[in-house]
Amino acid sequence: MTSIFRKFYFFLIALFLALPLIVVAGVSVNQKQTLAFPPQGFSTSWYGEIFLNPEWRNALMASVTLAVLSAALAVAIALPLAWFLWRRIAPWANVFQLLGVAPFTLPPVITALGLLTFWATVGFYGQPWTAVVSHAIFFVTLPLVTLSLGFTSIDRSLVEAASTMGADERTVFRTVVLPLILPYIVSGYAFAFVLSLNEYIVAYMTVGFTMETLPIKIFNALRYGYTPTMASVTILFVTTAAVIFGLVARFGDLPKLLGAMSSDGK
């Protein structure tokens, strides 16, 4: 591929990916309550609105709380499972690996509907904590995949050395395995956190009528009244995602995390 063609092609793709966000960024700085582009006047008040308007602030708090808790629960489910599959030979336990990957592979509406019928049947429909459990199950795939990858990259001779020197299972885990797996725990958590923050359908079907997360709030605003706050929230979300993934890339090996094993130039 010639370099001019390549530059042009990359420019077009970048434009395609960035254009909607550029327009939204423009809309978010409108002076008045209008979704005009190019923006009329300049004001950052719509960013303040996210934190000052109680409705938007509550939605933001709900989303962040949900993401913090559900990502933690997802990691708590994925870590022992990935560790067990790495440590033991138990082929039938792979069933759980499959179950952990399934919610993310199937169309999201299926997991959402399954959880909706489930919570309705057991009588907890609409309780805020059901959204935490639902998101944790829906996103458990992400820490599970990163952790499985992390465990395969651990040199078993290190673990063997530790146990030859007399360390028991617990000590080996705490002093050898945990420090090596920590970057993968962090990135698995980061992936689940960002996606939970943005998730709409599962949250809507489980707690949509009792609680508003930010994506639900944006959707309701789309139906019942546009405001530039939707645009400022969008920009806030994109920036958050870029910062978090940027940090993962800064402190971890992003190409390797995404499955490129030969990224270290071997």
């Binding site: 939204v24 190019p38 759980f96 952990g100 399954g114 019928t117 994506p215 870029a242 993934f245």
Partner: protein, 284 residues
């Protein structure tokens, strides 16, 4: 510490919590949904346990056939557009400096993680009359008057390609990184142009990867539940939208569940196809 089979019951304890969580909150809800798909619908949004096939019988109507046909066609169109756009892009990306790769990967992940609500909102703004792309064209003197480009089929397709493009790149990325660079080098040494080397060496070598990616993007596109609603007209609704609509707004849970079960079967069939395509790839 070698891998060994569990010796005592105690060795199974780490498995307890994950297994319980996945069983109670994924397997059981899945079963509940299948059960509800056979239930009888009552007036007012309730349903009673029963074992009827009424909900599945509704699949035989022309309306449902139309929605299913449209969903499949839409997902195929999205999958083809994405792979055609993403294959040369990902190929060139894997040949770039590592630092450039990382920047692109961060950008792609950020777009991929965006909520469908946000993507729908962003594109409906871009296609709107007041803030849309047509205003830019008017400002440049290319168009007389700004106009709305949504709702339309093209708007839905664009939105869904936007949503699925980063996913396609990330699916293709590992396979393309592992592609032996000496293959294209050999083709180049023997006098093939870069373009010719790409189409006669890279594409055939990746045939199975491309098929598997097409299917995965197809499944991903089938899952899009909001974009057809936000950017299209009711005739552009897909199966996922219809399921959401039946469950939430029409309060017909049994019918929604039956459609969801059907969607699972379609998806599982396709996943099986992907696995078979992958196996062939290993054998080749």
């Amino acid at each position: 510490m070698r891998r060994e089979p569990p010796q005592t019951v105690g060795d199974y304890t780490p498995l307890l919590f994950p297994a319980a969580m996945l069983t109670i909150f994924f397997v059981v809800p899945f079963g509940t949904m299948i059960a509800v798909s056979f239930f009888q619908r009552q007036q007012g949004g309730f349903y009673t346990p029963a074992f009827v096939f009424d909900n599945y019988a509704r699949f035989l109507t022309a309306f449902f056939g139309g929605v299913l046909g449209f969903s499949l066609m839409m997902a195929i169109a999205v999958a083809i557009c994405c792979v055609v756009l993403a294959l040369p892009f990902t190929y060139m990306l894997t040949r770039m400096a590592r630092s450039v790769q990382v920047v692109w990967l961060v950008a792609l992940l950020s777009v991929l993680s965006l909520s469908e609500v946000i993507i729908g909102f962003a594109w409906s703004t871009l296609f709107s009359r007041t803030a849309g792309i047509t205003n830019i064209l008017v400002a440049l003197g290319l168009m007389g008057e700004a106009k709305a480009l949504t709702p339309s089929f093209a708007a839905v397709l664009t939105g869904m390609v936007y949503q699925a493009f980063p996913y396609t790149v990330l699916v293709l990325f590992p396979a393309l990184v592992r592609l032996d660079p000496t293959l294209t080098e050999a083709a180049r040494t023997l006098g093939a142009s870069p373009l010719k080397a790409f189409f006669t060496v890279v594409v055939p070598a990746l045939r199975n990867t491309i098929v598997a990616t097409l299917i995965m993007v197809f499944i991903f596109a089938l899952g899009s539940y909001l974009l057809p609603q936000l950017l299209g007209r009711p005739q552009h609704w897909t199966l996922s939208v219809l399921i959401t609509d039946q469950a939430i707004y029409q309060s017909n849970m049994p019918f929604a569940a039956a459609m969801a079960v059907f969607l699972v079967l379609v998806t599982l069939g396709l996943v099986a196809l992907t696995v078979i395509a992958g196996r062939k790839g290993e054998a080749a």
